[in-house]
């Protein structure tokens, strides 16, 4: 089982560079506009393996010459989350850069309630890899959130009815 970077010393410059490169390449390939704000927000989120709230990001955008109204950051986050460059940590109402964008994965996180460092478990299945990752990283899991959102039978049927 691999050790995650977030909780261990590592070449963090490389993290950032790689995340931005991957985003650049992906946007290029899919004709998405990786505009300055979007890029800058991702860069801010890459600056550390911590989850940042929207307003914290906004605060950091100001000095960089960007406008500081909430919609600015929320729109950028919407884009970044939609294309999976960033994940939202629901428990914290905060956002974190994805470190495995090239790999298809079900996001699952180890969140330190003390330092707010977030490690993304590199798992392909929505399974118990998290428990293993936690173990090999000496991370003590205290509380987990696993929420599956989707569509129930009833609503699916209702929608089918409506379509008729």
């Amino acid at each position: 089982m691999t050790k995650v970077m977030s909780f261990n010393p590592h070449d963090h410059e490389a993290c950032t560079a790689s995340a931005l490169e991957k985003a650049d390449a992906y946007c290029q390939k899919h004709a998405l506009k990786f505009t300055p704000v979007r890029r800058q927000v991702l860069e801010i989120l890459c600056s550390d393996h911590k989850a940042l709230g929207a307003y914290e990001i906004l605060k950091r955008l100001g000095p960089l010459g960007f406008k500081s109204q909430p919609p600015v950051v929320y729109r950028a986050l919407e884009f970044l989350v939609a294309h999976r460059f960033v994940h939202k940590i629901e428990k914290l109402n905060a956002y974190v850069a994805c470190m495995h964008h090239d790999t298809s994965h079900v996001p699952a996180f180890l969140i330190c309630r003390n330092c707010e460092t977030v490690a993304e478990a590199p798992n392909k299945e929505p399974s118990d890899l998290v428990a293993q990752i936690a173990k090999t990283n000496a991370f003590t899991v205290e509380k987990t959130v696993y929420e599956a959102e989707g569509l129930c039978v009833n609503c699916k049927e209702d929608m089918a009815d409506d379509a008729r």
Copy 2:
């Protein structure tokens, strides 16, 4: 695999009665104060297998003769969540009554994004029972949130240092 009640016709009076009874008994046993507000909030959450926001609950408390300032409901929810009579659905910033309070379990939910009905998967392990439950209930999982919160090695060490 069992069908969950939330998405299927069932004797819902029994759901409510059972949840309230369990809470009564548990509080009795552990010398917890199951005060009127706390009981009423649980009752409101039991009225349907839907997640309700704090302010929606607050709205319903008013006509019942309770005070309607936010802290009233947040305090009641804090109590109910702490003792696991209620779970918070982080994705929705909403709350749902627990249907398995007597069973030790890792909460995991199937949340319909259309009708906001929430079904709690009755799983003992934080595992893929959810996927199975979803299957036998014809629930289409579109998005999952699995977040493990705890303490990382570094913080644990820091705390050990501080204690010295």
